[in-house]
C-alpha cells in the first residue's frame, strides 16, 4: 500500500499533478481529485479545500481555463482544460521536479524510479 505523502510535500507538487492530468483531457474538479488519488495509489490526495484554491490560482495565471459544460446526463460541471500557456509550464515544471529528485537522491539516496 502506498504511503500518503505529507501535505507540505504534496502541496508543491499539486500544480504539476493537475497540469499533467489536464494535458490528457479536460476534467472537472471532482474528477481531477479522483484521478490524482487513483493514479498515485492514494499517495497524493486532494480535498475540495486543497483543490479549488489551487485551480483558481492556476486559472488566474492563465494556465488552465474553466468552462461550464453539461455532461450526457444533463448535469452541469466546470471542466478545466490546459491553455497553451499552461502547456508551456509543464516541461519546465517536470524538469524542476526531476532535478529536485536527483538532488535528493544524491544526498539521501532517495530514488525517484
Amino acid at each position: 500500500m502506498t504511503k500518503r505523502i505529507r501535505s507540505k510535500i504534496s502541496r508543491g507538487s499539486g500544480e504539476l499533478a493537475i497540469l499533467s492530468l489536464l494535458a490528457g483531457e479536460p476534467l472537472y474538479g471532482f474528477e481531477i481529485a479522483r484521478q490524482i488519488g487513483e493514479r498515485t495509489g492514494g499517495a497524493l490526495t486532494f480535498t475540495l479545500a486543497s483543490l479549488y484554491p489551487l485551480l483558481y490560482e492556476m486559472e488566474k495565471r492563465g494556465w488552465v481555463e474553466g468552462r461550464w459544460q453539461a455532461n450526457h446526463a444533463g448535469r452541469d460541471r466546470r471542466y478545466y482544460r490546459l491553455t497553451p500557456s499552461g502547456r508551456k509550464q509543464l516541461a519546465p515544471l517536470k524538469a524542476e521536479w526531476r532535478a529536485f529528485f536527483q538532488a535528493l537522491n544524491s544526498l539521501a539516496g532517495v530514488s525517484h524510479a
Binding site: G29, F30, A49, P53, E57, R78, T83
Partner: protein
Amino acid sequence: MPDGNKPDPKNPDWTKLVRERMGRLDLPPGDQENIIRELAAHLQETYEAARSQQIKEEEAVELAMQEVKDWNVLAAKIQRAKSEEEIMNRRTKSLWLPGLLTFLGASASLMLIQFAGLQPRIEWIAHTGVTVYWHWLASLPFFGALGAYLSWRSRGSTWARLGAGLSPALVMLIVMCILLPWGLAIDGFASFRLVMFGVCLTNWVLFPALALTLGAIPFLREPNIPAAQAQG
C-alpha cells in the same frame, strides 16, 4: 465553524450549505455564484460516490463534510486566489510603468534640447506669443511609440497603449487643470486666464498629444501578443 446545521442526509442541499459557510467574498456576484455552484457540485459528487459504495446517507454526508475542515480558511484562500492583485499588476505593467517611462523620457528630451541650446520659436496663437519647442515636438513621436510599444509588450489593451503613449500630454493636462483654478482664484483675471489656459493647452497638451499619437499609432493596431511570449 460549528456543524450545527448539517444538511438533510436524504436530500442534502449543498448549495445552501456552501453559501452559508463561505459567507460573502469580495468578488463580483457572478464569480461568487459560480464558486458556490462548483463547490456544491463537488460535495454532491462526493456524497453520491459514497452512496454508490453502499455507505449510509448520514455517513455519506459526513464524508462530504470532511472535504473542508475550516470554511473560513477556504474562503480566505479562494478570495486570495481569485483576487484582482494580478490584474493590478498587469495594469501596472501595461499602463503605469510604460506611461512613467514615456513621461520621464519626454521630460529628459526637453531638458536636453534646452541644455543643447536649441531655441524655441515664438509663435502667435490667438494674438498671444507662445514659445513652441519644435525640436521637442519633433522628438515626441519616438516617445509615443516607446510608451505604446512597452504597453503592447505587456499585453496592454488599445486604451492602455494609447494612455501610455500619451502620458506626457496627459500629465501636462492634469497639471494645467490644477493650476487654472489657482490662477483664477489669485488674481481674478478670468478672461485673460482662460485665454492663456487655452493657448497653453494647445501648446503643451494638444500639439504634444498629436505628436505622441503619431508615434503610437502603429502599436495601437497591433494584435495582443500571446501571454507566454509576454512572460518570456
